[in-house]
Every structure is written in structure tokens, then in C-alpha cells.
């Protein structure tokens, strides 16, 4: 039992101090009928490290990992190259094995990182203030809807057809038992601006509207100017919530803040964090100064210590559930501190210059591939303005195409049939993401295979 320091003599000496006859005496409050007298049946006993490694290694080897094949899957999670430095830093025991910084005097490391993270996120999103992270982009978006209700005291949310359908699903689940009204619609595959229903949204805003939610770039990779929508929201007293699932895009395109958003939420996985089969990821959340006291999640603030030295603390905790209990702004308790650290380290390595170059590279490579694939007979490029992700319309059902590509060891993207099950109009759609990790050989292999599969 390599993790358990007590020896049998230790245990006996301690029982003596306690005055208990045996360990069972310490479990006296457990009803007799519920006491297990032996290790639980049906599970193996303890294993050497070597055996655990072997067993998990066998499971891991059954998966086709992104780095080993031509890879073009996006849809809210992106494969970018993360410098080795990032992982080395987050594995420092002082970061990895620290708790929430409840004792700020001995947690300045975590706290200064969070303050820097908040500052980086606010700038990246073009907003005044960001929190210290949330679970992921989808839950951050739901929290934004609740925040808009608190700010506006209205409860109708209009959701663009371009928002990631899983994000919409989460919002619907978490508002199922609240008074919120969620208005959504289904996108179509009309070439040009897929998922772009900004005009319809502007028309639908009314005096009950608490917020309008748009994603940019949207689920089909399409990018739009949100300024007119922001104006319409503000005229009607509603808030514009913008979702960003590929934050690297903000090195190339105007930030939601610059276009007038009131709340910006995002999935921060793209910077510093791996794919990890969907988690842990990093929810970003930012808003305007005037709304900060309605913001959910942890916040780190600057202050001074008894000697007047600058220091950092968790602050505005009067919003939180450990103080407010049932009146809290949210039931959220933990954040994604370690993922936020990884994000912050990677963004520090990039800096303004590196982020702009990285974004420029992603965009240029995506344009190259989009143009190549768009020339395949029967294939239509649906998204004409995009950052690093675009949709194609195939001459056949995309789910089976993706499957056939996978058989050829190519992870070619996402079928819309998987994201929008049961909607026939979308089933030939395919979403393709291109990052700096894709090589020319990957492009060749993908193009050849797609040609072959569609032939």
C-alpha cells in the first residue's frame, strides 16, 4: 500500500492514544446492517504501479490519437501545439497540489497567476473584467444567461442558430426547471453564411428579451460583424452574450468586446490545454465593469498586506454560495485553476506577437485546405468567411464519409448528422477544422481519401 504511510505498529499506538479497542470502534455510528466486514466483493485488490500502467496502457492504445494521423476535428475543441514548457510548469507540485487559495498569505503563486489570467482573458475577449475560470464553455454560457436575467430582470433568451448545439442542449437542460424562456432555431446549409441569423434575431428582440446569444466564429466556422446586433440589444435593454469556442481566432478577428458584447463566454481549451476527450476544459467568462457584482464564479483582486506590499486575494465572495447559500449567484464552487494556469503560461509564451502569428497561420492553412477541398467534384464550400474552421456540403451523407475516412486512419472532421441528429437537411454537412498542426502531407492524404470515398 504505497500511498499509506501508517505502519501496523503506528496504528496500534494511535488506537491506544485514542482509547479505542480496534478500528471498528471508530465506526460505531454506522448501523450494524450497513457495516461491511470485508473488502467489497467484485473488485480486485491493490495493484502494483507496473500493473496499473500496463492495464491503462492497453486501454489507451485502443484509441486513435490525434497526433498520429491527419486530423481535422474541431467543433468546440481544437488540437493546437502546446509547448513542453506549459506541462512542465503545471506539474510543479506547488501549483498542482495546492487547494483553492483560502489562505492568501501562502497562496500568492496561485493568486497572482489568476490575476494575470483574468487580465489576459479580459484583453483577449475585449472586455473589462474576466473571472478566474469556470467548468467549460457550455456551462459558462448558461451562467451568462442567468446573469443576464439578474441584470435585466427579464427572462427570455434568444439563441442564434449558429450556437454549438451541445451548448444549447446544456442551456435547455439547466433552464428546464426555471422560469427562463429559451428561443432557438435550427440552421440550414445555404451556402455563404451558415447559421447566421443575425437579422432575424434583431427582429425578434422585444421588451421581454434579457439577452441574445451568438457564437463567433459559429459552429460552422462562419464569422460575422456583431455590432448591429449589439446596437439592437442595447436599444431594447437586452444584453448581447457572445460565445467563442476557438479563442485562437481572437488573434485574427475582432473581439466580441470590440463589437459591443456585454458578456463574453468562451471555451479556453485551445490555448495551453489538450483535447483530453472533452475535459477538463476551461470556461472563460468576461463582462463589463458595471455588471461585475452580478458575475458568477471566483474573482481574484489586488490588495495590500499589513506592510503595504501588493498582494492578491479572492474577492467579492459575497456573490458566492459559501456565504450566500440559497441566494448565491450560482451553485458553482470549483473552477478550472490548473487549466487556467496552462492557458496563461501558453498565452505568455505566445504574447501578442505569437498569438497573432498563430492565428494568421491557422487562417492561412484553413483557407488553403478549404480551397483544395472545395474543388473536389460534388463538394461545396458552405462557409465563405471563416477563421480556421468551415463547413462543406457533400454529395452524400457525411456520417458514413467520416467513418470511411477513419477506416483510412484519417480523422476528417465532424458530420452534422452527429451534432444535429434527425435533421435530414443537415446530414450531408461536414465541419472541418485546420490548425497549425496539419502538414501538407496531411492535406494531401485528406484530399486523396475524400476524393476516393466520394468517388
Amino acid at each position: 500500500m504505497r500511498y499509506l504511510p501508517l505502519t501496523q505498529p503506528d496504528r496500534e499506538a494511535m488506537l491506544t492514544v485514542i482509547g479505542a479497542q480496534d478500528i471498528d470502534a471508530l465506526f460505531a455510528d454506522v448501523p450494524e446492517s450497513a457495516r461491511l466486514t470485508a473488502p467489497i466483493a467484485g473488485l480486485p485488490n491493490h495493484s502494483p504501479e507496473m500493473h496499473v500502467e500496463r492495464a491503462l496502457g492497453v486501454m489507451a492504445a485502443k484509441n486513435l490519437s490525434a497526433g498520429t494521423v491527419p486530423f481535422f476535428v474541431g467543433g468546440g475543441a481544437y488540437k493546437h501545439h502546446v509547448p513542453a514548457t506549459v506541462d512542465a510548469i503545471i506539474q510543479r507540485g506547488e501549483f498542482l497540489t495546492a487547494y483553492t487559495p483560502y489562505q492568501p498569505e501562502i497562496a500568492q503563486g496561485t493568486l497572482q497567476v489568476l490575476f494575470e489570467f483574468q487580465s489576459q482573458v479580459a484583453r483577449l475577449l475585449g472586455m473589462d473584467v474576466a473571472n478566474a475560470s469556470m467548468y467549460d464553455g457550455s456551462t459558462a454560457m448558461t451562467e451568462a444567461v442567468f446573469m443576464a436575467r439578474r441584470v435585466t430582470r427579464r427572462s427570455k433568451a434568444l439563441v442564434s442558430a449558429g450556437v454549438h448545439p451541445h451548448y444549447v442542449g446544456v442551456l435547455k437542460t439547466l433552464t428546464r426547471f426555471t422560469d427562463d424562456e429559451i428561443a432557438t432555431s435550427t440552421p440550414d446549409l445555404t451556402p455563404g453564411k451558415p447559421g447566421d441569423d443575425l437579422d432575424a434575431l434583431i427582429a425578434a428582440i422585444d421588451a421581454q428579451t434579457s439577452c441574445v446569444i451568438v457564437q463567433n466564429p459559429n459552429i460552422f466556422g462562419h464569422i460575422a460583424d456583431l455590432a448591429p446586433l449589439a446596437d439592437a440589444c442595447h436599444k431594447a435593454g437586452a444584453l448581447l452574450i457572445t460565445v467563442v469556442t476557438e479563442v485562437v481566432s481572437l488573434g485574427a478577428i475582432k473581439s466580441p468586446g470590440e463589437m459591443g458584447a456585454d458578456i463574453v463566454v468562451g471555451e479556453g481549451q485551445s490555448i495551453g490545454n489538450g483535447l483530453n476527450f472533452g475535459g477538463p476544459y476551461l470556461g472563460l467568462f468576461a463582462c463589463r465593469d458595471k455588471h461585475v457584482r452580478q458575475m458568477p464564479g471566483r474573482l481574484c483582486g489586488e490588495t495590500v498586506d499589513a506592510d503595504g506590499k501588493r498582494g492578491f486575494v479572492l474577492t467579492l465572495s459575497t456573490r458566492e454560495q459559501h456565504i450566500r447559500r440559497e441566494k448565491a449567484t450560482s451553485n458553482i464552487c470549483t473552477n478550472s485553476g490548473l487549466c487556467a494556469l496552462a492557458f496563461s503560461v501558453h498565452l505568455t509564451l505566445l504574447g501578442e506577437k505569437g498569438l497573432r502569428n498563430l492565428a494568421g497561420l491557422n487562417h492561412a492553412r484553413a483557407v488553403q485546405l478549404a480551397e483544395r477541398l472545395g474543388r473536389i467534384p460534388g463538394v461545396e464550400l458552405i462557409t465563405t468567411s471563416f477563421f480556421n474552421e468551415f463547413a462543406l456540403k457533400l454529395p452524400t451523407e457525411a456520417r458514413s464519409v467520416i467513418r470511411k475516412l477513419a477506416e483510412r486512419q484519417i480523422l476528417g472532421g465532424i458530420s452534422m448528422g452527429r451534432l444535429y441528429p434527425g435533421i435530414a437537411a443537415l446530414e450531408n454537412g461536414m465541419i472541418i477544422a485546420v490548425t497549425e498542426t496539419a502538414t501538407d502531407e496531411d492535406f494531401d492524404a485528406f484530399e486523396d481519401a475524400l476524393d476516393e470515398v466520394l468517388a
Binding site: 500511498y3 494511535m14 492514544v17 485514542i18 471508530l26 465506526f27 450497513a34 461491511l36 473488485l43 500502467e53 486501454m59 492504445a61 485502443k62 486513435l64 490519437s65 498520429t68 514548457t85 510548469i89 510543479r92 507540485g93 501549483f95 497540489t97 495546492a98 489562505q103 492568501p104 503563486g109 497572482q112 497567476v113 489568476l114 483574468q118 483577449l124 437542460t173 460575422a224 488573434g251 475582432k254 483530453n276 476527450f277 475535459g279 477538463p280 483582486g301 490588495t303 495590500v304 498586506d305 486575494v313 459559501h322 450566500r324 451553485n331 458553482i332 464552487c333 470549483t334 473552477n335 485553476g337 505568455t348 509564451l349 504574447g351 505569437g354 492561412a364 483557407v367 477513419a406 480523422l411
Partner: protein, 492 residues
């Protein structure tokens, strides 16, 4: 040397990465290119490493010493878990890859689910919640969905006053009115008061067991039976499952839902505040309402069921829906399973025993000096509760004592929680502390207490030896500075 802020150190034109050349293409940004400076300072790689290494050294972690935060459970984080979570077959797979290419990942989730169900004695588990509080939400959503499915609109959730603050917040989030149930003199739920309050308006009782005083609720079976008889459900907050894992299956007590904090009981790292992971086990009554997506074993392998309407599934047939964008905290699943397999059934039982033994050792060793409000009622579970009553008259409080511990080289215990005890100090050593480590902590706590009683005035301003003295939290909240504002400096 003090470490300046990144924004004071870096510059917009500094960079710690090299990238391939950007091919020249006609851009497709629709005129939405970002023109203005973003204001993100960069650093070269050596400067980056140094910045964060220096910052890290202003932190305390379990790798440096005992972290006796009660109800937070800071135990050893095995490095094997970190290594396993970084295997490319787990770390470098996309949540939307074809299922045929992630069979090992689905198998891992299914295997972990089996362990959780077996350890809790519950028939179903939802894996996707992202943290303990998210798990509570999952459980309460299932309860409300189940009640609605039977057309039974109920409006009240009962929560003992010793509950975690997240419990009432969660119940409120699900649209319920929250009513508190008092504790008895022995630090447990007042069972009679609870039973008396049950009725057709009560949807559920949320109860933490072992509770936040570190005590087992002895009437749990009785309570569950009474709640069920009243047509309501029992949600158990499983934050303290580490005290009983392998010795008690919560399912045997009669509960309907419970979340499990993988980062507490199963040692995934806290990372300065997260990420967590909060799978929820369900009884048969609630299983059909569990969220999407879930993993199902098929004859050929494993299937990830993402959408009800697209399939004719027999299980989860009335799922309340999706809680997160993808499938949950895979990285934490790998770590937790590595931990479970390492301990096995026998080791996990030993975990509970040693955790409880360590806590009782502290309780027994300090109760002559520190006020121990419930010590007379018998042993505690995984954490020892004290209060600062013994400091009455000195003007010193729990806070002063905690800050004094910092100067002795220890992380303090949890302060002022649970709320049921005034000036509470909740000490949770966990099973991964040695007797020598406990003796050191006990010695320091005794010595501080004795010195405080002897000369109170010397102890009002600790810490003195930490990277910072006491920080002005009131000032921070009054005029919040949440962001580095001085763009000029960064651009310089």
C-alpha cells in the same frame, strides 16, 4: 526577489514560441480583422519558466506539507495518475472522433463507472458532471425530473443547517424553496425535526454523510425510509465519501443519489482550485432520468449514447438532458481509475480506516487544550472539529490561530466552517499523513494554543514568515481591482 506581474515584465513584441512561416493567401476574414493592439505581453521561454517557477514558490501544496483543510480533503496526489492521464491515447483524442476510434476511452469510462457503482452499492452512475456542485445539480435535476414524470409537483427541499453552502444553492437553482433542519446537540441532524417536517410538499432531503462536523449520521437508514415513505427522495452529499469508502456502501443506507468528488476521495489534484469531477450515482428510481451522454456496453464494444431521440434506448429513457458540452472530465477519470486500481478493494477500505484513525488521533491528542464540541459523543470520522471557545477572554480567534500556524510552517485547518459551531476549526489529516507528520502538527497546535493563552498580545498579527503578511480583504472587495489596467506599461 519579488516577482513582478507578467504585465510589468513582458512586452507585446516578445515571444517564447517559434512558428512555421505563414503561407500567403487571400484572407477570408470578411473585413473583421483585429486591428487594435490586444495588449497581451509575451516573454521568451527562459523568462516564462522563471516567472512561473518563482510564483510557484509562493504557494503551499500537499507536496510540501500537511494540508489539513477539513471538508476539502487534500491527500497525496500520486504521480502515476499524472503520467497515465498524459498517455496520448487519453490526452490526445477528440470528444467528437468517430466512436470506433475511441473504444479504449469508452472502456475506461465504463470501467470507472463499474468501480463507482460497486463501491457505492448503487445501480447507475452519471459520469459527466464537472465538479461536486455540478454533481449536486445533476442529482437534484434527476429528482425533479422523476417527480414531474409522476406528475407530483413538490416545492420544498430540506437541508440540514450543517450542509455545504452549495446544497441550498443547488436546490434553489432547481426551483425549490429551501428549509433548514436544525442539528442536535451531538452534531447530527435532528431526526425527529426532520421527520416532523416531511409531507407532500417536500421533494427531497439533501444530507451530507459523514456530515460537515465530521460525524456519521447514525439514523441515516431510518431517515431514508421516512423520506421515501413521504414520497420524497434523499440526496446525499458525497463530499466526505473518503471516510467510509470500502466500509459502508451508501446504497445500503437507502439514498437515491450521491455525487462523488473524484478530487477528494480519489486523489485527482486540486490544482489551486480545480478542475474537479463529480460523477453521481443513482438508485433504480432515478436511473431513467440520468443525463446524456452515457457509455453503454454493447456486444462489440462500447457505445457513447449522445441523443435519446435518435435511438431506441431502454435505459435513461427519460433523461433530463445534457449537462456539459462533451462527456465529462476524462483527464480526471483516468487519474481516479489509476488511484482505485492501485488501492483495490482492500486498499480503499484501508484508506477509510486510516483517514478516520488519523482524525481521531488528532482529536484525542488535542481535546484537552482545544474545545472539542462533539468529542464527548464518541469518535469522529475523517475530520476533527474544534472551536475557539478555549480562547475566550484572550481576544484571539480562530483566525489568529490559523495565521499563527502559517508561521510554524503548516497550512491552517478550515476556519469558521461548519457554521453550526462558532469559531469552528475543522482539521482533516487524510490517510496519506504519517504518524510523524501528525505528531508534528499536534505539537505545533498545542504549543501555539498554550502560548496564546499565556501571552495573547503576541499573536494578533501573524503571519510574519509567509510571503505576505495579512492581506486587506475588505479593501479588495470595496474597490475591486480585478485586472491589470496599465496598457502603457505592457506596451513599453
Amino acid at each position: 526577489l519579488e516577482e513582478p506581474l507578467l504585465f510589468e515584465r513582458g512586452a507585446l513584441d516578445r515571444c517564447g514560441v517559434d512558428l512555421p512561416e505563414i503561407p500567403v493567401v487571400q484572407d477570408r476574414l470578411a473585413g473583421l480583422g483585429r486591428a487594435d493592439p490586444i495588449g497581451l505581453p509575451g516573454l521568451s521561454e527562459p523568462e516564462t519558466v522563471r516567472h512561473y517557477t518563482r510564483l510557484s514558490r509562493q504557494n503551499y501544496g500537499i507536496d510540501l506539507g500537511i494540508f489539513p483543510l477539513g471538508s476539502c480533503t487534500m491527500k497525496h496526489n500520486p504521480r502515476l495518475n499524472e503520467k497515465m492521464a498524459r498517455l496520448p491515447g487519453f490526452a490526445d483524442i477528440h470528444p467528437l472522433q468517430p466512436q470506433s476510434t475511441v473504444q479504449g476511452a469508452l472502456q475506461l469510462i465504463d470501467t470507472l463507472a463499474t468501480w463507482l457503482k460497486t463501491l457505492t452499492g448503487m445501480p447507475e452512475v452519471a459520469m459527466s458532471p464537472k465538479a461536486g456542485a455540478h454533481g449536486e445539480l445533476c442529482g437534484m435535476l434527476a429528482i425533479r425530473a422523476a417527480l414531474e414524470a409522476r406528475g407530483d409537483a413538490r416545492s420544498v427541499v430540506l437541508v440540514p443547517e450543517s450542509a455545504h453552502g452549495t446544497n441550498p444553492a443547488t436546490a434553489a437553482f432547481c426551483g425549490y424553496a429551501v428549509e433548514n433542519i436544525p442539528a442536535n446537540a451531538r452534531g447530527r441532524v435532528d431526526t425527529e425535526a426532520l421527520k416532523a417536517r416531511l409531507g407532500p410538499d417536500v421533494a427531497a432531503v439533501m444530507i451530507t454523510n459523514p456530515n460537515t462536523c465530521g460525524l456519521f449520521e447514525p439514523d441515516m437508514i431510518d431517515i431514508c425510509a421516512a423520506v421515501h415513505a413521504a414520497g420524497a427522495f434523499v440526496y446525499c452529499d458525497g463530499a466526505n465519501f473518503n471516510a467510509i469508502v470500502g466500509r459502508v456502501r451508501p446504497g445500503d443506507l437507502g439514498i437515491d443519489a450521491m455525487h462523488i468528488n473524484l478530487h477528494k476521495t480519489f486523489s485527482t489534484p486540486h490544482g489551486g482550485g480545480g478542475p474537479g469531477s463529480g460523477p453521481v450515482v443513482f438508485s433504480d428510481a432515478l436511473a431513467p432520468f440520468a443525463p446524456l451522454p452515457f457509455v453503454r456496453k454493447t456486444k462489440d464494444g462500447f457505445e457513447l449514447v449522445e441523443e435519446m431521440q435518435a435511438r431506441n434506448s431502454k435505459d435513461h429513457d427519460r433523461s433530463f438532458g445534457r449537462m456539459v458540452a462533451f462527456h465529462g472530465q476524462m483527464g480526471m477519470f483516468v487519474r481516479a481509475l489509476a488511484y482505485m486500481m492501485s488501492h483495490g478493494a482492500d486498499g480503499l477500505r484501508q484508506v477509510a480506516e486510516d483517514a478516520v484513525l488519523n482524525a481521531n488521533y488528532i482529536l484525542a491528542s488535542l481535546k484537552d487544550v482545544y474545545t472539542a464540541p462533539f468529542a464527548a459523543s464518541g469518535p469522529c470520522m475523517h475530520e476533527a472539529l474544534f472551536s475557539d471557545d478555549f480562547l475566550a477572554g484572550t481576544g484571539l480567534t480562530t483566525l489568529d490561530l490559523a495565521k499563527a500556524m502559517i508561521d510554524e510552517g503548516f497550512h491552517p485547518m478550515t476556519m469558521y466552517f461548519p457554521l453550526v459551531v462558532h469559531g469552528a476549526m475543522l482539521v482533516e489529516p487524510t490517510e496519506t499523513e504519517s504518524k510523524a507528520s501528525l505528531d508534528q502538527l499536534i505539537g505545533a497546535m498545542r504549543s501555539i494554543a498554550e502560548k496564546m493563552l499565556a501571552d495573547p498580545d503576541a499573536w494578533r498579527t501573524s503571519p510574519h514568515l509567509a510571503p505576505r503578511r495579512r492581506l486587506d480583504e475588505t479593501g479588495a472587495a470595496r474597490k475591486p481591482i480585478l485586472n491589470f489596467k496599465d496598457l502603457e506599461t505592457a506596451a513599453a
